[in-house]
């Protein structure tokens, strides 16, 4: 039934509460039985029992009525029910019609048998006491669900409950077992009390587990370090007898057509009191359905009665529930669940509040164990479920859907107890007759990456659907198998079967497999046998991290290039099975033939797996020590490469244009081209072997150790060696830097000889050239080309005079234009 419900009828002023269960009545099927049997009890001191009988049909029906007490069944006058009529039947009145009284029959049974083929009468009852506040619900169990001769009631308070009991502080309780023999022969009844013997009765996990739901640690754990999932990897697996004690009373006899109210007061001194609660098993000797029973626990002040739903052990519907819960300052809700079998029973649980679904995925009962889930504690623990959801902290209302996942008999009920009012409501609406079926297997994580020497714990979750299509999840890790496709990369641990140990860089597929029941036979005549079992598999990709450089390759040589022949483009790409950011460091170094090393360091970063085209900065070339470094899952990975960036062939026309442009304001526009020709034969780079690069184009160094470099043979350095634009500009600056020296010398002479004219611009260039060439004319002015004549009224070309213009001078042929062969400039020898 996709909708479950229950009517709570309460009288707050009198502290009365009783429940009215639903009965499904569909056109195609109906749960309304033809025979209704219920029992009354506790009628003393002015109490009466009221039986409410409703005709759920639109037709008038007649029912035969029977009261059974004192060993006999008494027939009453038939009752007629008009369409949808509800009759309230007083037991006291009915007894009076039989000339009996409640003192003669404080407990008894009423049986209602409808005449005709279509059952439509539904009944519920109550006992109330206006003096004490005593109230209890009287049930009319469905005979069709009585398939075993054993009944079970879950979570009953007894004596003074323990301080941590859900019933703590509510009083001193005496459980009553009221059993009614429906036959005309005596039956024996054996009552067994099952009680918690460990503190784990409130576990939201497996048997013996902690109260709060366990949470899986997600992440990587270093081999050898403490596993935060230890509690999940090795859950306590106590012997069921260590969790649940049992005390069996001596068999009791109930006569034919009799009802007995067994107070457990007399046996409480044989129990290890105090106890948080007990569950009660009632086994009778007759055929299934030949006895009905009810269990209620009564406070000594008679003002609080805790009714416990009594379910037949083969009533499949009892193994599911759709129950409301409420929590406030005076109210708490406790879900009692009992495994009635000798096998463990897993339960799927979905707590809903405020639109949030919160799943308990590790709830498992041990054989004969009764567990109590405290909804206040569950809400307040604020522990996330496997989807990360929490019960909203402020939630006061919600629902819980639960269902058994194994073919083991389970029963449960939600008890909502209002402590101040002294009222306890019992919700036991069921939703499905059989366990939920396995539908899909999932694993977490489904993709993981971790470094070598670490491990990940993999957890399997089974998705189940119940008969309504409602979904539940359960942790199926422990029944699953795991295997790795590449055991040299990832190997499943030998001691913890769901632990993936990362051994070496690479990738592996972990396959996990579970065999589970997908469908149960819901034939009411069968106890839900599994009719379809399937093997489910799920693949998980596991990557063991490493770091490598895809680009560039080791020893790769790059040339300077680009529009200005001054930068190289280096592709940077790192590879890993993990994702992350890679940080690159580029250490550029260049060692001259004289052994001097110049260096520069640059850094950049990109995403692993993505290519970055790195453009070198001006002057950055030579040998590059390339380092790739990444922090992956807390581990540092670093790899390196050695690559090279050498020079390039710069077209002479490009050089000429650049040099003309630089010296466009000079007296001799082509002067720098002449200097470049003289100094470097117009080559920034020359072919030679350096590092591991034979015949590379490396900076054109001066003889004697490379103190000067490049086109203009300026002082060596990274930038001037590899950036020809800087080199030529530096040459210009050097030349222009000589002018003040020459001018100072000329000014000094002209001060001394007022008739001496100033040098012409080209004459200045000649004398600057002397200094550019490195001659120390500052200390020895006689080295200048242009000297004052003997009359000190003009200038003379000392070089030409000395040597007829042919030597031993060095000449720079500096064209006036790019196409003009040029004029000759001399450089004075030392």
């Amino acid at each position: 039934m996709p909708l479950a419900g229950q009517m709570t009828v309460e009288n707050p002023a009198r502290h009365w509460v009783h429940q009215v269960d639903m009965v499904e009545n569909d056109p195609g099927r109906t749960d309304i039985p033809a025979v209704l049997s219920g029992e009354w009890w506790g009628l003393s001191g002015g109490r009466d029992a009221t039986i409410m009988v409703t005709n759920a049909s639109g037709n008038t029906v007649t029912a035969d009525m029977f009261l059974a007490f004192g060993g006999k069944e008494h027939k009453l006058d038939p009752l007629v029910f008009t369409a949808n009529q509800t009759r309230l039947l007083s037991v006291a009145e009915m007894l009076g019609n039989l000339n009996a009284s409640v003192s003669e029959a404080p407990e008894g049974r009423i049986t209602i048998i409808q005449r005709g083929p279509n059952p439509s009468l539904v009944a519920q009852g109550r006992v109330t006491d206006p003096v004490t506040g005593f109230s209890t619900t009287l049930e009319f169990p469905d005979p069709a669900r009585q398939r075993a001769s054993a009944l079970h009631a879950s979570g009953v308070p007894i004596a003074t409950p323990t301080a941590d009991s859900p019933f703590a502080g509510d009083g001193y309780f005496t459980p009553h077992v009221i059993a009614s023999n429906l036959t005309d022969k005596p039956q024996s009844v054996t009552i067994t009390l099952e009680y918690p013997t460990s503190s784990a009765w409130n576990s939201a996990n497996g048997p013996g587990g902690p109260a709060a739901p366990l949470v899986r640690f997600t992440g990587h754990i270093k081999k050898g370090e403490k596993d935060p999932n230890e509690a999940l990897a090795h859950p306590p697996n106590p012997d069921p007898s260590m969790l649940t004690g049992q005390f069996t009373l001596a068999p009791l006899t109930i006569g034919p057509d009799s009802t007995a109210d067994f107070s457990l007061d007399a046996v409480m001194n044989q129990l290890p009191l105090p106890l948080p609660y007990v569950s009660v098993r009632i086994q009778y000797s007759g055929t299934p359905g030949s006895m009905i029973a009810q269990v209620s626990s009564v406070d000594e002040n008679q003002d609080l009665v805790v009714d416990a739903h009594t379910a037949n052990e083969l009533d499949g519907w009892a193994g599911s529930g759709a129950n409301p819960w409420h929590v406030d300052s005076q109210t708490n809700s406790i879900l009692f669940l009992t495994d009635e079998s000798d096998e463990p029973a897993r339960i799927g649980l979905d707590v809903t509040a405020g639109g949030v679904h919160y799943y308990l995925i590790r709830f498992k009962l041990a054989a004969h164990e009764t567990r109590a889930i405290d909804f206040r504690a569950l809400r307040d623990s604020q522990v996330p479920d496997f989807k990360g959801n929490r019960i909203p902290a402020g939630a006061s209302d919600g629902s819980v859907n639960w269902v058994r996942l194994d073919d083991a008999p389970v029963e449960g009920r939600m008890m909502v107890i209002q402590k101040q009012q002294g009222m306890a409501s019992n919700y036991d609406c069921a939703s499905c007759p059989c366990p939920a079926g396995f539908s899909a297997l999932n694993a977490m994580p489904d993709l993981f990456s971790l470094p070598p020497g670490y491990y990940d714990d993999i957890f399997d979750t089974g998705l189940y659907y119940d008969c309504n299509g409602y979904q539940f999840y359960i942790d199926v890790t422990y029944s699953a198998t795991f295997g790795s496709s590449n055991t040299s990369v990832i190997k499943m641990d030998s001691s913890v079967h769901n632990r993936a140990d990362a051994l070496a860089t690479g990738s592996a597929t972990i396959t996990t497999t579970v065999v589970a029941c997908t469908r149960y036979d819901t034939n009411p005549d069968l106890p839900c046998p599994c009719t379809s079992q399937r093997t489910f598999s799920f693949n998980i990709t596991g990557n063991v991290c490493g770091l490598s450089i895809s680009n560039p390759t080791d020893g790769e040589v790059f040339d300077l290039g680009g529009t200005n022949y001054d930068a190289a483009t280096i592709p940077l790409k790192a590879a890993s099975f993990c994702t992350g950011t890679v940080n690159w460091t580029l250490l550029f170094s260049y060692t001259t033939t004289g052994g001097t090393t110049y260096s520069d360091t640059q850094a950049t970063s990109n995403t692993i797996g993505q290519n970055l085209n790195y453009n070198t900065q001006l002057g950055d070339a030579g040998q590059i020590y390339l380092t790739a470094k990444a922090e992956l899952y807390g581990q540092t990975f670093q790899v390196d490469r050695t690559i090279y960036v050498d020079g390039t062939s710069i077209p002479p026309s490009v050089i000429t244009a650049r040099l003309y442009n630089l010296y466009s304001g000079g007296a001799t526009p082509g002067l720098l081209t002449g200097i470049a020709t003289h100094e470097s034969t117009y080559h920034q780079f020359v072919s030679r072997s350096l590092y591991e690069v034979p015949n590379g184009l490396w900076p054109n160094e001066s003889f004697g150790g490379g103190g000067f470099v490049g086109l203009m043979q300026v002082p060596n350095g990274l930038v001037d060696a590899f950036d020809w634009l800087t080199n030529t500009y530096q040459g210009l600056s050097t030349l222009e830097g000589k002018y003040p020296t020459v001018q100072s010398w000329v000014s000094g002479l002209r001060s001394q000889y007022p008739g001496l004219p100033d040098l012409s611009p080209t004459q200045y260039e000649d004398n600057e050239m002397v200094l550019y060439a490195g001659y120390n004319a500052t200390q020895n002015p006689n080295l200048y080309i242009w000297q004052a004549n003997s009359n000190h009224d003009g200038w003379t070309d000392a070089a030409a005079q000395a040597n007829g213009g042919t030597g031993p001078y060095n000449y720079v042929y500096a064209p006036t234009t790019a196409s003009n062969p040029g004029v000759r400039f001399a450089i004075q020898p030392q």
């Binding site: 996709p2 909708l3 419900g5 639903m22 056109p27 409703t54 129950n323 819960w325 409602y470 469908r519």
Partner: protein, 131 residues
């Protein structure tokens, strides 16, 4: 608007109301129960009825119908409230979300329908009809 009480023999009106509800709200896919049939060889047919044989608003009692959805889809339903003698009032269409709880106060529901809760409807029974 006060609804006219429906008396025994007029439950055809209930059926008509249900038909209207379910025609106006197309049936959700009926393949939801993909894994386990509910009831073996005796499956239910729509509309489904849940009978609650008693409620009381008399003598200091109040009654609350606690509904909990076990459905993965929203459910639409209506309620038929019967007085002790079978008189019937039909609620408006209501809905409940998947897995949610819905508390319906019978007294306030009847009041909202314009019914005198101290009269013939002070006690009775409730039927819930859903698709």
């Amino acid at each position: 608007m006060r609804r006219k009480a429906v008396y025994p023999g007029t439950l055809i009106i209930v059926a008509l109301a249900l038909s209207s509800l379910f025609l106006l709200n197309p049936r959700p896919g009926t393949k939801a129960q993909t894994t386990t049939n509910c009831c073996g060889t005796n499956p239910p047919t729509a509309p489904r009825e849940m009978v609650f044989p008693y409620y009381s608003l008399a003598d200091g009692y109040n009654s609350t119908l606690m509904l909990v959805s076990s459905s993965p889809k929203p459910l639409n339903f209506i309620m038929a409230i019967h007085g002790l003698n079978g008189q019937t009032e039909i609620s408006n269409s209501m809905s409940i979300q998947p897995g949610e709880k819905l508390a319906v106060g019978i007294g306030s529901l009847l009041t909202s329908l314009g019914v005198d809760v101290t009269g013939t409807f002070s006690q009775g029974s409730v039927s819930v009809y859903l698709e």
